[in-house]
Amino acid sequence: MNETIEQEPDDISTLINQPYKYGFVSDIEADVFPPGLDEGVVRALSAKKEEPEWMLEYRLKAYKHWLTLEEPEWANVDYEKPDFNDISYYSAPKMKPKIDSLDEVDPAILEVYAKLGIPLDEQKMLQNVAVDAVFDSVSVATTFRKKLHEAGVIFCSFSEAVKDYPEYIKKYLGTVVPHTDNFYAALNAAVFSDGTFVLIPEGVQCPMDLSTYFRINTPKSGQFERTLIVAEKGAKVSYLEGCTAPQFDENQLHAAVVELIAFEDADIKYSTVQNWYAGDENGKGGIFNFVTKRGICEGARSKISWTQVETGSAITWKYPSCILKGDDSIGEFYSVALTNHRQQADTGTKMVHIGKNTKSTIISKGISAGKSQNSYRGLVKMAKSATNARNYSECDSMLIGDKCGAHTFPYIEVGNTTAQVEHEATTSRIGEDQIFYFLSRGIDEEDAISMIINGFCKDVFRELPMEFAVEAQKLLGIKLEGSVG
């Protein structure tokens, strides 16, 4: 047994040499703003997107607030802060002014998505998933619109929503994540370029899974998208999000905001498979992923469930949260965060219990390999009004190799006697006895590791929609292939 353990370093280097599959750069002519940020850029961005006056005002308000803020430093990550004047705040593939059908999308872009394995072409599509593809700063295509329209579901890019459904945007934008929330949320509110808007009307179960695919293509550009999902009374939706980026030596910034609103009896399930470029083995390049995601269970018996598989990005700084305001509402958070090379992830969730009988579950699995640092940071807050609220949290970490780190920072704040909070965390590595068990049954080491890791993450994968679960398992497989002796 000892021999195999000693082999570890070699195998880890095999792992480190796994190439990033999505690192290609596509040569697509783009309309790019010169780098830099000032009020003029915000105005120009708004003008470019032909936005109404109120939208510009919102952006300017956020920009002015952003100027007063300082970049946060409390996260357990170490990086060179981005120079906000060296980033281009708008990059769009050149295309015809308005797209009516997929046929009008630049074939080069369609090719990119085909390479990524994202079927945009409705004709050939077997999966029952509607996709909104965001390329750099703008949404390039949205599929299955007609079918969704018949069901009454609004699923479109954010820019279109600002034009077509201003009443909804005015009503809901910034209600869950206000522009004053934090440094990156303020920046996003000022310069967000596009994103997705979803509205599921009362009593409608969305007939198919909705999906957005994000791709950053232009170097030195930042992606600031905004997603807003509103589920009215009794509505139900499952939403998937995927991300990739090409390989560049310089760090790119991704600062998104996601807002979810669930009214009475509504159910929103939000799944993410994040595979931004993570930088090379020396930590050069990669995406800074500074994301604010938050959902509010506004009505009674509503439910918001976050599932995330985080495998990419040089730095991840992300805390999908639930505000459980409605009585009997439910919040869930399932996460697998894998870090390798010199990746750093500081991720977790916040569950704020306000309503009576609210329940939340947190399952977080962190896997660190190489020289990476993986932190779980979470808050469970029971307000005075949260009578009979319950929370269960479980954070497990697995360490592969002796140069990585796993950290847990759970914050628990309780102000109600009837509330019950449980938190458990463990840190371990793959046991020699576990591997021995597999070997003695004729299963080789690599398969054994992959089975153990898949078992370790099973609680989370089970929550993912089918297509994503397969993708996530494959992703972990690729990332960890041959990693442990």
């Binding site: 002796d402 780190g405 950290h407 759970p410 704040e413 309780v414 009837t418 909070v421 938190h423 840190t427």
Partner: protein, 417 residues
């Protein structure tokens, strides 16, 4: 400028002048902690900082109520921050044991003191403040291979209004020695206690350390405990927080040597508007160390308990076994509990786990007792007592155990009314 200005301006006695060193100067450049600091975000320190405390006590009557008959001939009394030998009784110390003020300490105690390693609090505001305003240093020194059978009782007592006392206790257990040290705090008035305790547990030594903080409910108690745990040694500590309107206890245990074991248990039982805050760090710097931590809080009325427990495993510290459990019981709707158990692990071959629970008494357990004829209040009291008493059960000094259990019982009875 700070709220202990008078103490910081006093001409230090000769034996502590060395200790003060550059602390007064350094303190000028260290900012007072505010709620913007992560470690202090839940505590209101502004009222404390806005007060001014005097460092010159008036003559007062002291009647210590915490008595430990088992240790009555190994008693060191510290009154208003100064060692008072006339109130102490050190007649039955084993040979090779020194207990007393640093002023009387033999030269080998000084030497051992100089050799102790730097503590993580060295540059921290309150530790600097303690040194800058130092009133006395007490020492407990146990010679190599010496076994001190009877527990050593260090009794702190403060009487007076707006009076501050900054004491330091240094406990040194040399190679292979064995001892039990009990620190107790009590007093009367709205005073401010700023004690720092430093422990050195050298190779293969065993030190049991109990700290009972039972200060006046008007007082403020900000304490630091830094323990250096060496190869093969055992450090077994228990901190009890019952008194003070605001108490803050920072504990840092560093495992410098391999194969060492430490227990860092704690219990806070508070009511009224009390705030009891414990921050602990267990730093595993060497392989094969084991640590065990059980911290419990019982919060009644409008009280607030805070627990922040960090377990650190450094990169080369393989085969660490660290366990931490924090359980909190909320007895009233106005009470509040904050807990943050932290793991920071940089080695892969470790077994670390932590758990935290916050809740009320289990209804099924209550029902079980009620179905056996106990009244509702009785059943509640019994379960609450059992919750708190678990931490105390390991105390091996019968009179102290009894004293603490009685106090817990009284607290619960009062809560019932």
């Amino acid at each position: 400028m700070n709220f202990l200005e008078e103490a910081c301006a006093q001409e230090p006695a000769a034996h502590i002048a060395n200790f003060i060193g550059e602390a007064r100067e350094t303190l000028q450049s260290v900012a007072q902690p505010t709620r913007k600091d992560e470690d202090w975000r839940l505590i209101k320190l502004a009222p404390l900082f806005s007060k001014t405390f005097s460092a010159t006590p008036k003559a007062m009557d002291f009647t210590e109520s915490i008595k430990i008959p088992e240790a009555e001939k190994c008693l060191l009394s510290i009154r208003n921050g100064k060692v008072v030998l006339s109130a102490s009784n050190l007649s039955e110390l084993s040979e090779g044991v020194f207990v007393g003020s640093l002023e009387e300490a033999p030269s080998y105690v000084f030497e051992a003191l100089e050799k102790r390693k730097t503590s993580p609090f060295d540059t921290e505001y309150f530790d600097l403040l303690n040194r800058a305003s130092l009133s006395d240093i007490a020492c407990v020194y146990i010679e190599k291979d010496c076994v001190q059978e009877a527990p050593i009782h260090v009794s702190y007592s403060s009487v007076g209004e707006d009076l501050s006392s900054s004491t330091r206790l240094v406990i040194i257990a040399q190679n292979g020695s064995k001892a039990t040290v009990v620190e107790t705090w009590e007093g009367k008035g709205a005073y401010f206690n700023l004690p720092v305790t430093e422990c050195v547990v050298d190779e293969n030594a065993t030190l049991k350390h109990i700290r009972l903080q039972h200060d006046d409910l008007e007082s403020t108690h900000i304490a630091r405990l830094a323990s250096q745990v060496e190869k093969g040694s055992t450090y077994d500590s228990l901190s009890l927080s019952f008194g003070a309107s605001l108490s803050r206890n920072d504990v840092a245990v560093s495992h410098f040597g391999s194969g060492s074991f430490s227990r860092i248990d704690g219990l806070a039982v508070v009511g009224g508007k009390q705030v009891a805050d414990t921050h602990s760090t267990i730093d595993n710097r060497s392989p094969h160390c084991e640590s065990h931590q059980l911290h419990k809080c019982v919060a009644d009325d409008a009280s607030h308990t805070i627990f922040n427990g960090r377990i650190l495993v450094q990169q080369d510290a393989q085969r660490i076994d660290a366990y931490q459990l924090n359980r909190n019981l909320l007895l009233s709707d106005k009470a509040k509990v904050n807990t943050k158990p932290q793991l920071e692990i940089l080695a892969d071959d470790v077994k670390c786990s932590h758990g935290a629970t916050v809740g009320q008494l289990d209804n099924e357990q209550l029902f079980y007792l009620e179905s056996r004829g106990l009244g509702h209040e009785q059943a509640r009291a019994l379960l609450t007592y059992a919750f708190a008493a678990e931490v105390v059960s390991s105390i091996e000094i019968p009179s102290l155990k009894k004293h603490i259990e009685t106090h817990i019982k009284n607290c619960i009875d009062q809560a019932g009314k």
